[in-house]
């Protein structure tokens, strides 16, 4: 496979994963903003997903509609849904002969949906959840179409590598920011706060089934970092990242393969052999920070050994 194509597939997949994360986050936080007696703050969301300066964050942090517009339809925001989907689609456009026609059409439709002029108006006036649901569904179509139509070759491996790398970083980010907002206070026991955090990454039901004793921040950390069955957990994502990377093994590029395999394997073990206690001992923030740095290094190594074509 052409290096450029691998690169584009990888980024296309990362962008869609990011879009999905943002949209779910927005949907649940919006619901939460309607359910909060005190002034609901969008600060954590803005800190995870935008590059806004602290002062600007404060300006909009309490205005749901403004935040939604900024995060979904604002073309000035480089991380807005409309921009990321456009990037994903541009990447797809340049590798149309490597994705199925169905997948291309699905992404192309997604692109036309987010660029619809109506969207801005609807987001301003109508029920935002309806709009967010429409967009989330487009993303689900993408995942389904990929699953059903894409050949299980190298391209599919790169799609999944991008997806799970992005997801692992995102889950680490979400957890970190949400805890930093509570000053890493493990006695914080406001159940609504944790409930919405879990809801936003589709982990609420699993939490209820796993832990019977109400909300304990330690359990939240355990689920989001260490639960191997939770598809948004860091460990699950890294397991998958490793699994799909190993499919790239071939005699032709064996040296590079071993290098990157070693890096991913090391992070995998690091997370796998952690417990909530060891994480707490290190400090949650520092722990998540190292994992993110390690993941970024994997990204750089992929770039160097698999995507370099310039």
């Amino acid at each position: 496979m052409l290096s450029r194509v691998a690169d584009s597939l990888y980024w296309m997949s990362r962008y869609i994963e990011r879009t999905d994360g943002i949209l779910r986050m927005l949907k649940i936080n919006y619901a939460s903003s309607q359910d909060d007696l005190q002034d609901f703050s969008w600060k954590p969301v803005l800190r995870i997903f935008t590059y806004l300066k602290e002062g600007n964050v404060d300006k909009v942090a309490n205005r749901s509609r403004a935040v939604l517009q900024y995060m979904v339809t604002d073309k000035e925001n480089s991380n807005s849904v409309v921009n990321i989907v456009t990037h994903a689609r541009e990447n797809a456009r340049s590798v149309q002969d490597h994705i199925t026609k169905e997948l291309w059409q699905c992404l192309n439709d997604y692109y036309h949906t987010v660029r619809d002029e109506q969207l801005v108006r609807l987001l301003h006036r109508e029920d935002p959840v309806t709009i967010l649901d429409v967009l989330i569904k487009q993303g689900l179509l993408y995942y389904g179409t990929t699953e059903i139509t894409m050949a299980r070759g190298e391209g599919y491996a790169f799609l999944n590598i991008g997806k799970f790398l992005e997801r692992a970083v995102q889950s680490a980010d979400i957890l970190d920011v949400k805890f930093s907002d509570k000053n890493y206070d493990f006695d914080e026991s406001n159940p609504t706060y944790w409930k919405y955090l879990l809801l936003s990454i589709s982990g609420y039901e699993l939490y209820l089934k796993t832990y019977r004793s109400g909300f304990d921040p330690k359990n939240v950390v355990e689920q989001i970092v260490l639960n191997e069955d939770f598809p948004r957990s860091i460990l699950y994502s890294i397991n998958q990242l490793h699994r799909y990377f190993q499919r790239l093994k071939s005699e032709k590029n064996i040296e590079a393969y071993h290098k990157v395999d070693f890096m991913i394997g090391k992070i995998n073990s690091k997370v796998k052999y952690s417990t909530v206690e060891t994480i707490m001992r290190q400090g949650l923030h520092r722990y998540l920070q190292t994992i993110k740095e390690d993941l970024y290094e994997v990204g750089t190594a992929l770039n160097q050994h698999y995507f370099a074509y310039v």
Partner: protein, 484 residues
């Protein structure tokens, strides 16, 4: 309102061959379509038009216009009413194009080797040496199987007497074939069952034939040679076509930056290291192909590709330097080429063409400017054209001055009244002028033309210019099977 009334209200321009109507009667080959349409209401026609637009949009069959830093997706306008060619018309066109292409290939071989045709003074030598597309780099280099033109898109028009004429030969990187394929797919959705009922021949073989030909050109004698389509990239207006062809042939779509030349061999950079490339179907113009040989500032090409080509380590399709054969000034010599090389009478006629460096012809043209179209010999896409009947006096004067300065740059042709075909526009059936571009594929086994082509439509009322860059659209083109 019923479509029936629309049909009744349709009026053909005077002195024009209409493809659907002969006087007040529907031509035999269009009966099936007209009967189908008579059953429809205007509402249903509108819905079909809307469906066509949506299908193009959602499949990304678009080109992007960049303005104020933002890309706007446009679709190439499509008219829902098909253009129909009978089997006897097609047989004639097919024979004529094959003959012409055969002669043009021989001409290219000759002009880049022995130059008999110049020595025999059939084509004046100064015509060749003044052509910017005549490339010295190609001289004396035998291309595989002596085939220069692997893919040709020869444009035909129909005069008011119903006769087909060759308008121009596109022998470099003719585009539009993806629209031939996609327009047909759209018609299948718009008019269920209508294609089989009318005995319309299929066009789907095109990518298979092309692929077969490309494989046969591989310099390495291996069972699975690496074939690629070389594109200038996503900003090219024909990018959709490049991806479609790569997808339909199942080959890699590659940009110049994906390739590297090492030891006179071309490689592509893959995740598993370098992989040798055998055949390149390039959609990059000669000028940009190799910065070491041609335009040194080109980022679209590959340094050293020309040397690999000349060593015979890679096949390039179409061959480099074909522009000398589809130059608009050379065009008028093609009938003479057919006689010279094949000893045959040309089947398809040329439009009469005046050489403006011939004083007598130039004076005649200048005296009759309002009946002439002036074309720049080395422009395409409808650029650099002057339609005498609609141009202002100042424009005409400006052209005259330019022509006198450098007459080789221009040719003149009498304005031909292109045939018209009904188009469904703004809720009405209106006559619009059309041409026809069939796609001929030339391989070691001979010349094959899939029965069909691209019918381009001049969408503006009264306009005779069908180029997409000048506001043209297209129609699905049906070729009917025998016994018509």
């Amino acid at each position: 309102m019923q479509a029936n009334e629309l049909l009744n209200m349709y009026h053909v321009d005077a002195n024009t061959w209409d493809e659907m109507y002969k006087d007040a009667f529907v031509r035999e080959q269009y009966r099936g379509v007209v009967e189908f349409m008579q059953e429809l209401s205007v509402d249903e026609l509108n819905k079909k038009e809307e469906l066509a637009r949506k299908l193009f949009m959602s499949q990304g069959i678009t080109f992007t216009v960049y303005s104020s830093g933002e890309g706007i997706e446009k679709i190439f306008p499509f008219d829902i009413i098909p253009r129909i060619i009978t089997s006897s018309e097609w047989n004639y066109i097919e024979k004529g194009i094959k003959q012409r292409l055969k002669a043009l290939n021989l001409f290219l071989k000759d002009v880049y080797s022995d130059q008999f045709i110049l020595k025999d003074e059939i084509v004046p030598i100064e015509m060749i040496y003044s052509c910017p597309h005549y490339l010295r780099e190609m001289h004396g280099f035998p291309v595989p199987y002596d085939i220069y033109v692997h893919i040709a898109g020869i444009d035909l028009i129909r005069n008011s007497d119903g006769e087909f004429y060759i308008l121009e030969d596109n022998l470099r990187t003719p585009s539009g074939v993806s629209y031939m394929l996609e327009n047909r797919e759209i018609t299948k959705r718009l008019f269920p069952d209508l294609l089989p009922k009318n005995n319309v021949r299929t066009v789907t073989e095109y990518p298979n034939i092309l692929h077969k030909n490309l494989v046969s050109l591989s310099p390495r004698n291996i069972s699975n040679p690496t074939i690629i389509v070389l594109t200038p990239g996503i900003y090219n207006s024909a990018y959709f076509e490049h991806t479609t062809l790569a997808r339909l042939m199942g080959v890699e779509l590659v940009e110049g930056r994906d390739l590297v030349v090492d030891n006179h061999r071309v490689f592509m950079k893959t995740t598993a290291g370098l992989q040798q490339v055998d055949v390149i179907y390039r959609r990059v113009d000669d000028e940009f192909l190799d910065p070491l040989v041609f335009n040194p500032s080109s980022l679209l090409g590959v340094s050293g590709i020309m040397s690999a080509y000349r060593k015979g380590n890679v096949a390039i399709v179409n061959a480099i330097g074909n522009g000398v054969a589809d130059d608009k000034a050379i065009y008028s010599y093609v009938p003479a080429m057919i006689k010279y090389y094949l000893n045959e009478e040309p089947i398809l006629k040329n439009v009469p063409t005046y050489q403006l460096n011939n004083l007598e012809e130039r004076e005649y043209v200048f005296a009759n400017m309002n009946r002439m179209v002036i074309k720049k010999t080395n422009e395409s896409g409808g650029y650099g054209m002057l339609m005498g009947h609609s141009a202002s006096d100042e424009e005409i004067d400006r052209y005259k001055i330019e022509i006198v300065k450098d007459p080789r740059q221009y040719i003149a042709q009498p304005i031909i009244s292109l045939s018209s075909s009904p188009c469904y526009m703004n809720g009405k059936l209106q006559p619009r002028r059309i041409d026809l571009r069939p796609y001929a594929l030339c391989g070691p086994g001979g010349i094959e033309i899939v029965p069909g082509g691209l019918t381009r439509v001049a969408l503006r009322e009264g306009s005779l210019v069908v180029n997409s860059s000048q506001g043209g659209g297209s129609k699905d083109t049906w070729v009917l099977a025998g016994s018509q």
